[in-house]
Each structure stands twice: as structure tokens, then as C-alpha cells.
Amino acid sequence: MSKANKLDPIFNPKGIAVIGASRDHNSVGYGILKNIIKGCVFENEYCKPFKGRVYAVNPNADEIQGISCYPKITDIKEDVDLALIAVPTQIVPAVMKDCVKKKVKAIIVISAGFAELGEKGKKLQDEIKDIAEKAKIPLMGPNCLGIIRSSANLNASFAPAMPPQGNVAFISQSGAIADSIIDWAIENNYKFSTIVSYGNRADLDVHDFIEYLEKDEETKAIALYIEGLKDGKKFMEIAKKVGKTKPIVVLKSGRTEKGIHAISSHTGSLAGSYEIYKAAFKQSNVTVADTIEELFDITKALAHQPPAKTNSIGIITNGGGCGVLAADYCSGIGIDIVELKASTIKKLDNTGKMHPAYSRNNPLDIIGDALPETYNAAIETLLMEDYISGIIVIQTLQTMTNPEEDANVTVELSKKYPEKPIVCVHMGGRFSKRGKHILETNGIPNYDDIKKAAIAMKALVERGKQK
């Protein structure tokens, strides 16, 4: 049985014990307990209190945050399926042994001070790994942030808050990156099914989480932040398998490190580790992102839009300059901006909605005074054409522009033609906010910059080739 099958108690626990729960507001043990009980420390509308049983374990307190404390986990009468450990490093092994006695079903060690500190820490890490292995209990961490899962009302982490709920799972080797994503996601409306920071991966590694997510109904696409892999071949095998149903996007750091290569062969000196990682990602159908923002920009497109069946894309814009820029970006990364057939132009003419000076070409410039009905005619005409596999819709704000109605039009057409991807660039700020919101809540990714939309469309084209 693969490890992934045993991760349910981490993703969907019924009873949680926080070992090292603390009254000190500045401690990790305080934050984790509060996150479980309230959903967050930094309050916002997305935070959900945990609905299952919560136990605090601390030998020096009677109650913390309104719940009574147990001296040891073994003192708890009811079943505990998930133990979160946030105690000083040295006593983690002893606490783990108690967890084994208690027959918990999974353990998350938040505490740091293990392999990341060198040889001595590594020894301690091996010790807790052994304890977990012998007891056949899956172990996440040590030195990790924990897990956030909105659908399970679960914030078992010391992240500041919960992000909006959505269909993208984020698995991060770094806890701090996961942390900072959350505040950013709340502000920019990026939505997550799950956020996992897996830390030192003494036991559970990134591929175990990917494998678990294959069958997770909450997750439609997976974003990864990886510093290095421990078992590259295993990662490739699982990514290839899971990637068939759930697109995977990765941001890899540590790209410029020079491995120590013997200069005995050309291949040895030329094969930098990032080049090899990129090749491995490509072979496993994992899309590579360049920045944190790009990671989520691409993932949200892959999560909500279908792949482009062919590399043949249309651009619709109410601003000429933006159309040219879009064409430049697209060609630069290998997206084919297909020439419109005469028959398509005729259909556009026949709608009676086109401005006399519209571009009659791709990018299709429907001119600054385009109304929602103009967008409707243009988008539908292109979507109906077999030779066009996806479109980028650009809207700039002008006096007669109706951003919300334009968004509604796009949403409706996206529902009518669900097999073709649409990505939007409703450009602007305050006055475009509501239109963008309509798009995003309906699964149409919107980008504030044309280049980002081109990169997202490229990922959809590549996804189309994979299948």
C-alpha cells in the first residue's frame, strides 16, 4: 500500500492533539492551537474554526484558550488521529513515543532543529523517522509549517490565516513561502484547496502528497515549490501518473548552484542541476514557472480552463496597442496567433456589431468604443471556429466600457463553449475590480498584465499537447 493512502488523518482529521500548546502569545504552540480553534490568528472572512475534537497537551497548564490541558497525549481518553508536535527539539522523540502509545494515525512535527542544522540534528531526525516507521505512522516534517485545508475547516499550522477556498493545492518545501502566499492570496483572490509545507521530509515527501491529491475532489491543479528532490525518479513516476488528471506546475529554486563536476566530460560540465531538473519536469508533464506569481498564474488557468486542443489562438481587444503587445508576447513564447479566414471576417461583418474600422485580423481589435454586445459577437464568432482553439480577451477601460457586463458576456460564452480555454486581461485598477471578480469567481483567470495572460495560455497549449 502506498503511503499516500495513509494521509487521510492529515488532510481530514477528526480529533487533533496539539502537543506543546502554549499560553505564550509569541510561541508557535499558541498560534497553532488558535489556528485550529479559530481558523486564524489574523482574522479574516476565510478563516474556519475546526469542527472536530481538539486537545491541548502541556504538563504545565490546566487550560489554554478555553480548552483543558492534558499532561500527556496518553492521558486523553478519546481517539486522536492527528498529533501536532511543537515542543523543544530534544524531547520530540519522547513525545513521538507517547504518540505511538496513543495509537495516533498521523504525526506532524512542527519543531525545527533537525537535519537543517547538520549532523547532530540529522541523527535526531533519523531517530524520529525510525519511531514513525516502526509504528507505521506517517510523519510530516519536522521543521514544517503544517497543513491548511479549508474544506476540512482545518488550519493545523502556524500560518497567519486561511486563504480563500478554491481548487489549487500548494505543496511547498518552504514554510515561509507558504506563509507569505496566504496574505497575498487573500488580497489578490487566489484560492486554495490545500496548503502543505512538508519541511525536512523525514518520512512524507512531496511525491506522497502529490499522490494523495490525485483522488482529492477539492483539488483540480497542483502548484509546487521545490528546493530539491530526494528521490527524483519516484517524483517523475508519480508526477507523470497524477499529471494525467491533475495539471502540476513547479517553481524550483537553487537554479544557479554549480554542482561539483569532474571536468572529465563535456556532459559532466554542461549538465547543471537546474537544466536536468527542467528536463525531468518536462518528461513528467510538469509545467515550470519562473516566479512565485507565475506559479499561481499558471496553476489557476490549468485548474479552471480546458487545455487548448491545438496551438492556434485568437486575441480580442478593444485597444490596438494591447493587441500588438499580446501578439508579440505570444509569438515570443511560441503561441501561434492564427490568421483569420475570410469566412470568419464575413461572419464578424454579418453580426452587425463590428465598428467599421475594426481590425479584420488577429489580434482582433474591436475598437475602443466596444460595448458588451461587441465583445459578445467577437468572442462567440471566434469560439465557433474549429480552427481557433482558445482566446485571450483584453479589455481596457474607456468612457463607454462596461467592465462588469463584459465580464458577464465572457462568462456566459465560456459556459456555452466549455471545450475552449479563455483567459482575460481586464486591465486597470479600482474601476475594473468588480468585472475581474466576476471573471475569477466563474473560473476565468484574469491577469493584470498581458504577458502573464500569454504565459497562462502557453501552459494551456502545452497541456493540450500532453493529453
Binding site: G228, S264, S265, H266, L270, Q283
Partner: protein, 215 residues
């Protein structure tokens, strides 16, 4: 790491049906001429020693030898130069090899701690040395991935024929890469491998120089 010796290298090439130019090892100038006559001029000669990794750096390679006289002179100067610049190297012989012409390509393999055998493809000369215009795949690869590797390099147009040159036989390169993939997977003792250059023309792709590294 050290170089696998000539005979073992050759055996592996034969086992995996990896094509290389007509060639034979000579121990004397006279023998060299006999071999050259048999395989036909023009000829290239190379010093063979597992102690020598960069042959041309020490004058251990002479190319475009068109007749017996040129061959004989080159043979002597190659030996003198090699012995002077690398006195401790044990020479296994001098390889007498048919000169090939075409596009120079490099196919390589190294072991990565994460992914094990990783294959590399690129065009030879400045394309690999200066521009580092190469592509990688984790082995094993199939034909489709070999084709992707070829089409991923920026200088690929050269393979498809520019300035009136005939295109090289891409399928021969693809076959060669798949064979190297197989060899790498089945021979874990080979830690690194360079076919540099492979010379490709419109009918074939031959490994002109091969270097295999073992522990």
C-alpha cells in the same frame, strides 16, 4: 574516475550496434599505412590511451591525411608530441580511422544523484563550447523524446540543412540517442559518456570519438 580502455569501449559500441567510422589500431607506422590503404584515404589518426582524456590538447589527433607520406609524417609527429607532453601515459596504440565529413554533434550521458542517467544532445564545436546550446532528458528515452531533444536546441536548423547543405539523417541521430540511453541504463558502471563528435550526414550518424568514464 578513469577512462574505460579502448577494447572494452569498442565492445560496448558493438554490443549496442553504435556505428563508428572504419578504423583499426596500429602499433607501427608501417602497419598504419597498411590499414589506411585498406580503409582508404583520407585518414585521421588518434593516440589511444586510457590515461589521455583530452587527446587533441597534447597533439594526439591528426586529421585529413590524404596519402601515405602525410600519414607517415603525422604518425611520427603524433608519437613525439604525445610522449613529450604526456610522458607517463601508457599508449594502447594509434587509431587509424576513416575521415568522416558532415555536421558535428555531441551526445553525452552523466549520472545525476537525483535522476541517474541524464542524456545530453548538442551541436559540436562552438555551439556546445561557447553557446552551451544543449538539451537534456532523463534516461530512458524513446524516439519521441530523442526527437524533442534535437528540436529543442537553438541551432537545430543546421541539422536540417542551411546554405545549400544537405540535411542530416535525423532518424540516424535519433536511433543513436536511443541506443545510448539503453547502454546507459544497462551499464551502471559507465558513469559518464561522451560521443564527441558524432558526425552526421545525409545517410548516417557515426561516433567518431568516444569516451566512457568508469569509477
Amino acid at each position: 574516475m578513469q577512462q574505460l580502455d579502448f577494447n572494452k569501449t569498442k565492445k560496448l559500441l558493438d554490443k549496442y550496434n553504435i556505428p563508428y567510422p572504419k578504423s583499426e589500431l596500429a602499433a607501427s607506422s608501417d602497419k598504419a599505412i597498411k590499414i589506411a590503404k585498406k580503409i582508404g584515404f583520407p585518414i585521421a589518426i588518434k593516440v589511444i590511451s586510457k590515461d589521455i582524456i583530452h587527446k587533441s590538447d597534447i597533439g594526439g589527433v591528426k586529421v585529413n591525411l590524404n596519402n601515405e607520406e602525410e600519414l607517415s609524417d603525422a604518425y611520427d609527429s603524433l608519437l613525439t608530441s604525445t610522449k613529450k607532453k604526456s610522458p607517463k601515459s601508457k599508449i594502447e596504440g594509434i587509431l587509424i580511422q576513416k575521415m568522416e565529413s558532415g555536421v558535428e554533434v555531441i551526445i553525452g550521458m552523466k549520472r545525476d544523484p537525483q535522476f541517474d542517467a541524464v542524456l545530453m544532445f548538442g551541436l559540436g564545436g562552438i555551439f556546445v563550447e561557447v553557446l552551451k546550446d544543449v538539451s537534456f532528458r532523463v534516461a530512458p528515452i524513446e524516439k519521441k523524446e530523442a526527437e524533442e531533444m534535437i528540436n529543442e536546441i537553438k541551432s537545430r536548423k543546421i541539422l536540417y540543412g542551411i546554405r545549400g547543405q544537405k540535411p542530416v539523417k535525423i532518424s540516424a541521430l535519433v536511433d543513436l540517442m536511443v541506443k545510448i540511453s539503453k547502454l546507459s541504463i544497462e551499464n551502471k558502471k559507465i558513469l559518464e559518456l561522451d560521443l564527441n563528435p558524432v558526425i552526421a550526414d545525409e545517410t548516417s550518424a557515426k561516433a567518431v570519438d568516444v569516451r566512457m568514464m568508469i569509477e
